[in-house]
């Protein structure tokens, strides 16, 4: 995992060098101080006043250097951390922009967002902490160890016992702690999910009089969570006093040892004070390492998740050498079969058809019959597993991406608008659209009637989540975005579902009149939406089982007739 981050951090080589230098200086100064303390004590013992002033100046200068180095280190660490994070985020974002439909669906949009926001944030923190503190730990540990051993070599066993004890306790506490944390996180998710469901279903809870039962269930969960929290608290509670105790005990043992041997070696008295200081630093380093490792685990988890995104190959790529061209509205499927990646079930089975420029094709069939999938192959959102899809007599696998995007407009059922202005959203369909283009498109989509009621018309603000538009308005704007570029092929994937019948009819009439040369694929649940199509394709279990006009199909296709009859029964019972 760390390997993955190295190139990103490597970009900040200079800063890394400076961060390492400054943190080393800061660590060295804190190791140096006890040495100077030892000399001061020795000077007092030897009654050498003349040494006091230079020693004092050294002490203060060293400490000041440590202070400044520590502060400067933060600046470099922050630069590396935030820089790495920004680069990582940008790389991830660019990567995602190369993704196909399939890639995005497999990750799910929510997960992709988290990987670009929270996970990057985690990495930023861990990188910064690494250059601020983590690096300090080995320097302090090794430095203090070496200095302690040289200061009072005969007390090596005190250090050894202390280190072993601290390591054993740290490991002993951290490993059950890790397990408890895992349980804690699960329970916390469960508890929060319960709260979420109760918020969503507040009317159900109330009308079924389940408030009390919900509380009982929630309380039981919360209690379990609390028990784990208390256990975690106990473990932490053992840690700090235990460390302090071990450290101070080591000091006591050292004092006694020095006292017993002071006659044979009087310099041990001065050494004792700095030895005690080093003991403390060794212990701090181990404790810090323990906590950092727990902390790092989270960062590694996030890195893993970012790496997954970066390692993903786009399902399909466009031929970069293909020349730009204008594609006509002829569409052909030649023995096309399709299964979603990782799924054996064929959603489309050997579908073949030819559609001429300007035709209007209706696509009907039950949910799961493959009609949306068929439509998604036309703008090459997926590649067929078998067979060839052609638009304008070009195999989509060899077509230029820009040409295809220009030629095929795809309007989804779920109308997605972006915050900004209405005009920004329309221009997504044609980047250089002028106000006449916009008006024309909005007219076709029956959107002009409400847009032009606003004082600022096409400059009207689209709020986040397009909260200021109704479902029908969103669909109309989304259709306008689809038609503004005068595409060769227009696909409406159930994109008038929120429109009333009158508006739906008006939209279809306008498309017919204003885009006579555009091939139109209209996917619909209601047969009434496609009754006027030049041809209607009937899909069942991935197969194109019938095609023809409404009149022909009523006469020839039992499946079509059944759908039609059920819907008719609902609509006309006079």
């Amino acid at each position: 995992m760390v390997k993955f981050l190295i190139p990103y951090i490597g970009k900040y080589k200079k800063d890394v060098v400076w961060a390492v230098i400054t943190i080393t200086i800061a660590a060295v100064t804190s190791l140096w101080q006890p040495k100077l303390l030892q000399q001061v004590v020795q000077a007092i013992a030897d009654d050498k006043m003349n040494l006091m002033i230079p020693l004092g100046i050294q002490l203060i200068v060293v400490a000041l250097i440590g202070l400044v180095a520590g502060a400067i280190n933060t600046i470099f660490a922050a630069k590396i951390g935030t820089g790495t994070a920004a680069d990582l985020r940008a790389a991830e974002y660019k990567k995602v922009q190369t993704f196909s439909f399939g890639n995005i669906e497999r990750f799910s949009t929510g997960s992709l967002v988290v990987r670009m926001t929270n996970d990057v944030q985690q990495v930023q923190t861990i990188v910064m902490v690494f250059f601020q503190s983590l690096l300090r730990v080995p320097i302090l540990f090794i430095g203090a160890l070496v200095l302690a051993l040289t200061t009072l070599p005969r007390l090596w066993w005190v250090i050894l016992v202390m280190v072993i004890l601290v390591v054993v306790i740290t490991m002993g506490v951290l490993s059950p702690m890790g397990k408890l944390f895992g349980k804690f996180q699960n329970l916390l998710d469960k508890t929060n999910n319960m709260a979420k469901e109760n918020l969503q279903g507040v009317r159900v809870v109330k009308s079924f009089n389940q408030e009390h039962n919900e509380e009982v269930r929630f309380d039981a969960n919360s209690k379990e969570l609390t028990d784990i929290n208390i256990k975690i608290g106990y473990l932490f509670g053992i840690l700090m006093p235990a460390f302090m105790l071990i450290g101070e005990l080591a000091i006591a043992v050292s004092i006694i040892f020095v006292a017993r041997n002071i006659v044979s070696d009087p310099t041990m008295l001065g050494a004792l004070t700095s030895f005690v200081n080093y003991l403390m630093q060794i212990m701090n380093a181990i404790v810090m390492a323990g906590f950092m490792s727990m902390f790092a685990a989270r960062g590694i988890e996030s890195t893993k998740r970012i790496k997954e995104v970066m390692d993903t190959k786009p399902d399909l790529t466009f031929d970069a050498n293909a020349a730009e061209e204008k594609l006509s509205g002829d569409v052909e499927f030649d023995h096309v079969s399709f299964a979603y990646p990782g799924d054996e079930h064929e959603v489309l089975k050997d579908v073949s058809f030819k559609v001429k420029q300007g035709e209007m094709i209706g696509l009907v069939g039950a949910t799961g019959s493959g009609k949306s999938t068929l439509a998604q192959l036309i703008p090459r959102l997926y590649d067929p597993t078998d067979g060839v899809v052609e638009v304008g007599h070009e195999n989509l696998k060899k077509v230029n991406e820009k040409s295809l995007r220009k030629a095929v407009a795809f309007v989804q059922q779920k109308a997605i608008l972006f915050s900004g202005k209405i005009s920004d959203n329309l221009k997504q369909g044609k980047f250089d659209a002028d106000s006449a283009d916009m008006k024309h498109a909005a007219d076709m989509a029956q959107a002009a009637e409400f847009i032009e009621k606003y004082d600022d018309q096409y400059e009207h603000e689209v709020e986040e989540r397009s909260a200021n538009f109704s479902g029908g308005q969103k669909q109309r704007l989304s259709i306008a975005r689809g038609v503004i570029g005068n595409p060769s092929v227009l696909i409406l994937d159930d994109s008038t579902s929120a429109l009333d019948a009158r508006s739906e009819k008006l939209v279809q009439e306008a498309l017919e009149a204003d885009l006579p040369d555009t091939t139109k694929f209209v996917i619909a649940e209601k047969i009434s939406s496609v009754i006027k199509a030049d041809r209607i394709f009937v899909m069942q279990d991935g197969e194109l089982i019938a095609a023809g006009t409404h009149r022909e199909l009523v006469a020839s296709s039992p499946v079509y007739r059944e759908i039609y009859e059920t819907q008719k029964a609902q609509e006309v019972i006079d």
Binding site: I44, K196, H212, V276, F418
Partner: protein, 593 residues
């Protein structure tokens, strides 16, 4: 300051349940601190005694008097004190773990219980995420603060006071030297914290923008792909990303620099103490052995003295989050509860009719939604409410189950005002099927028996059969024990509707409120839903917000609402004969949004 005071009251409310625990924490913190600050005194004394011993021993005249007893005594005392300190700290930690976990438990369950009591109005006017963040981030912040900041604050303050007292007790001159740099440290902290706050806020703002942008773009990625907008999307992202980098850089520098600075200050202060101590030892009134002990002691004190200062400053952010969290939790606690009458009129089943009597209603004062609506339904009959979006259909439904109270007029069951019944009594007799089906995490059985947890298996199966979902459930490997949730895809949208119909059938309500779903489902499921709907409506008094023509045709009475008024009322034939709004809608291919 006011928010701080508010937060103190907030925490006091929870802590007061743990009086003994709080007392233990207070007493043992003070004791442990006493042992902690006193221990260095004995350490210094031990050094002093060793020095003394050495001096006596090295002088042949006094060598005989030299004894280690004093050294051992000092070390014994030192040991005693550190063990006591360890025990004290341990007890404090245990008590803290219990109190902070339990208090947060009290807050969490209290918040959940509050949510169960609050009016539907609150949930309709606040986004779920906003309320949910009280559970996720605010409680989290409070818990972290309790673990790492609130009790620490107390402990560190005691330590600070303890160290200061002990220092002045030992040597006034050195004590002054040790605390001399405090004003600089405090000033530095205040400046840095203020700056950090400013830049962290800016950082959060930019991060918020970026996250919003990423969220929107990724959610709209399909539009981006089909329109080939990737390059533009990346350009705009980079603008946000650069801003975030600049802002986080400043934010991280300012918030990250405090700790190393305080560590540095501690180092400098210790240097000053050593220097001055050495100077005193050689020029002052102290004898050398005492001076040596003093230096060792004060080096320890200096470190102990700076620990609380840097601890308190580094937990400042955490404390502030907890203060905010306390305020946000109290905002919820301050909301109105649903009111149930103190002496409710008993209602034991509908005998005659349900009536809405001249109802005026507004969600927000001054914006009346229903302008004097009266509808009567006889027992066993079905009313279909139709009308365009915003006509007030849903509002009528909200009043029947008393999710909202009327401004004037009354909803009456057999002449009893719903406001005179207990809420439970009322809702026991009223069942609802909502447009959006709600699935709770749990088994299918749990979801069906939601309103009647003690239902028998026969009852469950019968309800599922009537709702046309039994066969599907039996086709699943785990059948009724299959785990479902809102997110997993065991059920399609249509099947979720069937499940929620089964749930309502099982409770066998007398009055049914049904909001037909408008979502598109395939014809097979559609037919199933229609059948299930017929089953649930059969034999019950029902109000249906109808979207399907068939449902409307089945109604005993159709009420046409527009802009909060009833504009037409009657059977299908009667309304067609009137040739008004309904007839127009009908001829326009029947679309009722």
């Amino acid at each position: 300051m006011q928010s701080l005071w508010h937060a103190i009251k907030f925490f006091a409310r929870y802590f007061k349940h743990y009086k003994l625990g709080m007392l233990i924490i207070a007493v043992f913190t003070i004791l442990a601190t006493y042992f902690q600050v006193k221990a260095p005194v004995y350490m210094g004394k031990a050094i002093q005694e060793i020095a003394n011993y050495l001096m006596l021993k090295s002088n042949p005249a006094t060598a005989k008097q030299a004894s280690m007893t004093q050294v051992y005594n000092a070390v014994e005392m030192f040991l005693l004190f550190i063990v006591m300190m360890g025990v004290g700290l341990f007890i404090v930690s245990m008590a803290q773990a219990i109190i902070s976990s339990r208090s947060v438990d009290d807050m969490r369950t209290g918040l959940f219980a509050k949510i169960q009591r609050m009016t539907v109005k609150y949930f309709d006017s606040h986004r779920d995420g906003e309320v949910l963040s009280r559970f996720t981030s605010d409680l989290d912040n409070i818990f972290n603060a309790m673990n790492e900041a609130i009790f620490q604050l107390f402990a560190q303050l005691v330590l600070l006071i303890g160290v200061v007292i002990m220092m002045f007790h030992q040597n006034v001159q050195l004590a002054w030297v040790t605390i001399a740099s405090t004003p600089i440290a405090v000033l530095l902290s205040v400046i840095i914290i203020t700056q950090a706050q400013r830049y962290v806020n800016l950082q959060q703002e930019e991060v918020g923008h970026l996250n919003g942008y990423v969220n929107e773009q990724i959610n709209g990625e399909k539009v981006i792909i089909t329109n080939g907008l990737q390059a533009g999307s990346i350009d705009e992202f980079m603008e946000h990303n650069d801003k975030v980098q600049q802002a986080t850089y400043r934010g991280q520098v300012w918030s990250g620099i405090l700790n190393p600075l305080m560590m540095g200050m501690s180092l400098v202060n210790t240097a000053i103490v050593i220097f001055f101590g050495g100077y005193l030892a050689l020029n002052g009134s102290l004898d050398r052995a005492t001076a040596l002990g003093m230096i060792v002691m004060f080096v320890n004190f200096s470190q102990q003295f700076y620990q609380p200062i840097s601890q308190i400053t580094s937990t400042y952010n955490m404390l502030q989050l907890a203060v905010t969290g306390a305020r946000r939790l109290d905002e919820v606690f301050a909301q109105k509860d649903e009111v149930s009458p103190a002496e409710p009129v008993a209602f034991d089943g509908l005998k005659d009719k349900v009536e809405l009597d001249d109802i005026h209603f507004s969600y927000n004062p001054g914006k009346e939604i229903l302008h004097g609506i009266s509808i009567e339904v006889d027992k066993g009959k079905m009313v279909a409410l139709v009308g365009p979006t915003g006509s007030g259909k849903t509002t009528v439904m909200n009043l029947l189950n008393r999710f909202y109270d009327v401004d004037s007029g009354a909803v009456k069951f057999d002449g009893i005002d719903v406001r005179d019944m207990s809420l439970k009594n009322l809702r026991d007799h009223v069942g609802i099927v909502l447009q959006d089906s709600i699935i709770f995490t749990g088994t299918i059985r749990y979801n069906i028996t939601y309103g009647k947890p003690d239902a028998t298996d026969e009852e469950v199966v019968s309800a599922a059969k009537q709702a046309n979902i039994h066969d599907f459930i039996m086709s699943l490997p785990e059948q009724y024990d299959t785990e479902v949730s809102d997110e997993n895809s065991v059920f399609s949208t249509g099947q979720k509707q069937l499940l929620s119909i089964a749930r309502t059938i099982l409770t066998n309500p007398e009055l049914l409120i049904l909001d037909e779903a408008t979502s598109n489902v395939d014809t097979v499921t559609e037919a199933k839903i229609q059948k299930a709907m017929d089953n649930v409506i059969a034999g019950r008094t029902s109000f249906v917000i109808a979207h399907r023509l068939k449902t409307i045709l089945n109604a005993d009475k159709i009420v046409v609402l527009k802009n909060g008024n009833i504009i037409e009322e009657g059977t299908h034939q009667e309304l067609l004969a009137q040739d008004g709004f309904y007839a127009e809608l009908y001829h326009n291919q029947m679309v009722f949004e």
